[in-house]
Structures are given as C-alpha cells and as structure tokens.
C-alpha cells in the first residue's frame, strides 16, 4: 500500500517536472526541474531494490551532469536569456509524433506477456554488482573507463580556446 502511494507520488512528480523541462521558457528553470525529475527517478530505483543505482543516480546525474548543464547555461546565459522563442515551428507535429510513440509503446505493452519471477531480491546489491563487474563484465567495464577518458580529453580539446 505504501509502495503504491510512493510510486504514484514519484511518478506524478517525474511526469510534471519532465513536462516542465520540455515546455518552460526560462532554461534555468528547466535545469532545476530536470534536477527534481532525476532525483525522483533515484527514488524509484530505491523502490525497485536498486540501492547502488540510486546512489549512482544521485551522485552522477543530480551531482555531476546537472552541475555541468548549469555551468553551460551560465556560460551561454547572456544570449540564452534574451532568446525568447524556445520552441521551433515543429511543436504540433512534434507533439503528434510523441503521442503516437507513447501510444504505440503502451499499446504494445498491453499485448505483451512477460514471464516474471517471484523471487525476492537480496537486500544488498553492491557486493554482487562489484563481483560481476570484476569478473563477467570486466571487458565492458574497462572499455567504459577508456570511453570516459576519451570523453574527458575530447571535451577539453573541443572547449579550450585557440592558442592557449
């Protein structure tokens, strides 16, 4: 019962703040609503017994990516604030396509049977995830660290000023 209430509360906040992210005119407010949305997604992960993912979500999205986005808004704010028109002329066709996409996914969900497991998830996921990352999934783990290093160097090379 409590789980249901919490789920619907989080879902409501997620959907409302996501709509605010895509429709508000002030881009700084959009960023703040994005942070709220990501935080509530972390709450949903807790509901799904994914404690480590929830912590990672708060650290990486709410902490790092949001700060990065706010930095970028600040660096471009002089023009972003003056820019009144935030939507392009594709609003109606965009809404139409998004509704078709949502309806299609929901319609295909109702006709799909997914075999669910009745097992109870173990209370702590961190030890198992760490073991799996170091044994079965060590190659993608290392690849992803190389990807992060490449993204770091690439971002520095792209964003630095010429000649410095």
């Amino acid at each position: 019962m409590t789980e249901t209430i919490v789920f619907y509360l989080f879902s409501f906040i997620i959907i409302v703040s996501a709509l605010a992210v895509v429709t508000l005119r002030n881009i700084f407010h959009c960023a703040l609503f994005l942070i709220l949305c990501l935080f509530c997604v972390a709450g949903l992960y807790v509901l799904l017994y994914a404690d480590f993912i929830a912590v990672i979500q708060v650290l990486l999205y709410v902490g790092a990516v949001s700060i990065l986005i706010i930095f970028a808004i600040m660096l471009t704010a002089r023009l972003a604030g003056r820019q009144v028109v935030m939507q392009n002329e594709q609003t109606f066709i965009g809404a139409f396509l998004a509704l078709i996409l949502m309806g299609g996914i929901l319609w295909s969900l109702t006709g799909t049977f997914i075999r669910q497991s009745a097992e109870v998830p173990p209370p702590k996921s961190l030890a198992t995830i760490g073991r799996l990352l170091m044994t079965d999934y060590v190659l993608p783990f290392e690849l992803v660290s190389v990807l992060l290093l490449a993204a770091l160097i690439g971002a520095i090379v792209i964003a630095r000023r010429e000649g410095t």
């Binding site: 992210v21 990065l68 970028a72 023009l79 392009n88 996409l101 690439g154």
Partner: protein
C-alpha cells in the same frame, strides 16, 4: 506495484523527452531532453531486473553502463555547445548549419 506500471511510466517519460528533442531550439535544452530519455531507458532496465531476474543484477549493470555513457555524452555535447556559442554567438540549433546543406 507491477512491472507494467514502471514500463508505462518509462514510455511516458521517453515520449516527453522525444517531444523536447524535436521541438526545442536551444541546444542545451535538447541535451536536457536527451537526459530524460536516458532516464526512461534506465527505469526500464532496472524494472526488468527487479521483476524478471531479481537475483542476477544484469539489468542494473547495464544501467550503470548507460549512466556512464550518458555522462560522457553530456560532457562532449556541452563542450560542443560552448564551442558553438563562442563561434556563432548563438546556440540556436536551427541556425547552426555548418554541416547541413
């Protein structure tokens, strides 16, 4: 709560992000909508992990990889946005037409 609730929420969130990607002019707003879509995918992965294979954690590991790749994407994307802003004095995605014809 059943799996279908989480999948429906994820579909709605994905569609909202899709709408933002299509209709926004500001490049940073497009990147924020992309983050919404990544989160919808992650909810899917973790929900399937919880309800289909609760003891194997494979969905959670894929969610970790998605989060890391999204962080890398945000870094490079925002660096490109700042570079575009420096050269064009604008981050309107409709006006940046260097690679269009």
């Amino acid at each position: 709560m059943q799996l279908i609730h989480y999948l429906s929420l994820s579909a709605i969130l994905f569609s909202i992000g899709f709408y933002g990607v299509i209709t926004r002019r500001n490049a940073i707003a497009i990147l924020m909508s992309l983050e919404l879509m990544f989160n919808a995918v992650n909810i899917n992965l973790v929900a399937f992990n919880r309800f289909v294979t609760p003891t194997e954690f494979i969905g959670q590991i894929f969610a970790i990889f998605v989060i890391v790749v999204a962080a890398a994407e945000a870094t490079v994307g925002l660096a490109i946005v700042i570079l575009i802003h420096r050269n064009w004095r604008s981050i309107d995605a409709d006006r940046v037409n260097l690679m269009k014809w």
